[in-house]
Amino acid sequence: MIEVRDLSKRYGATVAVDGLSFDVLPGAVTGFLGPNGAGKSTTMRMLLGLDAPDAGQALIGGRCYRELAWPLREVGALLEARAFHPGRSARAHLEALAAASAIPRSRVSEVLGLVGLDGVAGRRAGGLSLGMGQRLGIAAALLGDPGVLLLDEPVNGLDPEGIRWMRALLRSLAAEGRVVLVSSHLIGEMALTAERLVVIARGRLLAETSVAELSAGAASLEEAFLELTADDVEFRGLPADNPERRVR
């Protein structure tokens, strides 16, 4: 399970995460929601030990990431579409990660097939489309068959078929008893994929609940989400009927 305890992080004068605490349990897809700049990606980077917290703890199975014996076999992560070198092939990228984790090469072909990249695995990864790059990131996350998955905006750039595939994949991973934390700003997508929700804004926890519970009192999950985060949106466009909005 994932345990985030009183986690804080600031970058210069900007407070990105501010005393955040929540748990993510196995067996259900947990959606990690929040407006732009809420601190979702920062929290995920701290879970992976990429950024050091200023205070608090981000634990996976009771340990911080740096203490894991074989990290990729315990935690699979998709942080952003491009965490690979454009000049290296998709296969070589995965082979490097497999080599670091004593994962057999046959597993590389297996995950390439699983995400549907076998046809382009030998090409320079820089030539992959956004969606294919995303699939490569998913392949890397699944490489070590980990019990914990952390996916930051996994459906970014995927086509409708890919989005449907991702939805089924996430649900089946959770059904196998894994911990699955998925950040997204696409509320409609989360309504279809997630069972549990962690909603944050301005680096603080707004709700730790289920999809059913949050959407109960509102017309839709989107309405409930907008109501919940109404006071915490930092970046807001002008409404459609505002005269300032007109382009002159």
Partner: protein, 260 residues
Amino acid sequence: MTTTTITMPGRYRFADAARMEWVKLRSLRSTWWTLAVTIAAAAGIAVAVGVNTEDAAGDLTNNLLAGISVGLLLTGTLGVLTATSEHTSGTIRSTLAAIPNRPLVLAAKAAVFGAVALATGEAAAFVSFLAGRLALPAGIPGPALGQPGVLRAVVLGGAGYCLIGLLGLGFGAVVRHTALAVGLLVGGVYVVAMLGAPLAPAVMPWLPISVVANSLTVEQPGMAIGDVRFLSPWAGLGVLVLYAAVALGAGAWVLAERDA
């Protein structure tokens, strides 16, 4: 999904990190291009020097190995890129997710890149020495590897590529920005030498480029220009090892302390 059951005792070690770095280094075409050009450039310059040699006076071995000073920039830049391209492409996040022990990552990178740069450097030094000797005009006896100091000059010349490459790797790990790190390397290796010579001749023996050109690759140790006496070959090697170690140590510290 298919579940592959992988049970492995213990935890990741240096060897696992080194295997990853080797796969990463060999899977970029630019690695092989740069190394091939390094060897070709040294050989080309040696042939040009050989053809234009007019008499057997002076340190012919040192003259034939002149191409090394130019080629250092290639392994140095490859060293920089080996570190910085991870940051500019985002690969560093994949790397550190696999091996969270950051000093271990840099140590593995230095070992793997250093070994490849050493093999390439030795190839460049030997190929250029032999090619340059063949290009000498008839009547000028070329130096032989069995003569005193010749083999040492060639072998240490090859090591120079590796050490400047590791210096570049350290700079890249410290500043994470390709252009800036290459600038530091060119500045530190070449420009300082050009400015330093007229301004402060006393520092000349300690500058990387002059260590390679006037200490590592000489037949007769203790070459001097005017009042300036250059370091002996082994002292020169020690100084370059020290420079590379300091740069890599700083790189490991920055990598461990800063967010990725």
